[in-house]
Symmetry: C2
Subunit: 142 residues, 2 copies
DNA sequence: GCTTGACCTAGAGTGCACTCTAACACTTAG
DNA sequence: CTAAGTGTTAGAGTGCACTCTAGGTCAAGC
């Protein structure tokens, strides 16, 4: 597989794949006769896993560290497991932090709803629409 | 309240507060006789709300837009509510995305656990420790 | 034979959100 | 009176993660 193909497959840009190789996230690719990078499927799954790590908020430098451990062989299994367990914890904390923002947003949204209602009532009063019966909209009219 | 005090109160740096003013996240502060910024408590709660917006992943430019709407007055209530509702949706999506990474991490962690177990067993076999009874550690010994 | 398109390199540029520097002004405690 | 501390400005610098440019090579189809 050539680099453009891998890019299409993974959703990364060709530029990004070369950049990942340069910083050590990908092993130096083998080359064809013309010097072009040749990839196998295992690189696609490695990139997919990297995308998952990225989705956890892991930074490039940690991902490089993980890639180095992986390259060192099976005796780094424990170190890698510990990195992933640490990630688990940060993901859980991130979820908590995001969840904590929801009530804040909710409260403000309701505050604005009240503001809008008051604004409408004020307008109604100002133009004396209080005696004009409100039109009830029920169901959909296309 | 002077800027250093506000910084301590909100956990932001003095630099950041001035930067926020420059880009329009904070109204231009009133100054004392010596030209120093003077703040009231309402700025502290505004900054706290901005921190919540930041925690939702909102970028600076959107926060500036929100601040501008706020400065324009109550007739922008609807626009502001819509911004916050959009935020709600992105927060929910972010939570989902993070939750989706958890099984991936779990799987890999278990994979490494198995790898570690296999590694230990291999080592035991190599050094023929199979007949040496394992020491059971129960409770704590300081 | 020539054009097209995919690939190559080194290195420069981008956008975000700060973060810091230099050089100076003012206030307050000892 | 002076030193420490806090404030001021314009503008430069930082770190991250790409993203793009210039100038080239190479293979395949017409």
């Amino acid at each position: 597989m050539k680099i453009g193909n891998l890019a299409r497959l993974t959703g990364l840009s060709v530029h990004t794949i070369r950049y990942y190789e340069k910083i050590g996230l990908l092993p130096d690719a083998s080359r064809d006769a013309g010097g072009r990078r040749q990839y196998g499927m295992e690189i696609a799954s490695w990139l997919t896993f990297l995308k998952h790590l990225k989705a956890t908020g892991m930074g490039i430098s940690d991902m490089v560290r993980y890639a180095q451990l992986r390259a060192e062989g099976p005796h780094t299994a424990t170190a890698r497991r510990e990195m992933l367990e640490a990630r688990q914890q940060t993901v859980l904390r991130q979820i908590e932090d995001l969840q904590a923002t929801l009530p804040v947003l909710d409260q403000k949204i309701n505050f604005y709803r009240d503001m809008e209602k008051a604004h409408v009532m004020e307008a109604e009063h100002a133009t004396d629409t209080s005696k004009i019966p409100r039109i009830r909209q029920s169901g959909k009219r296309p």
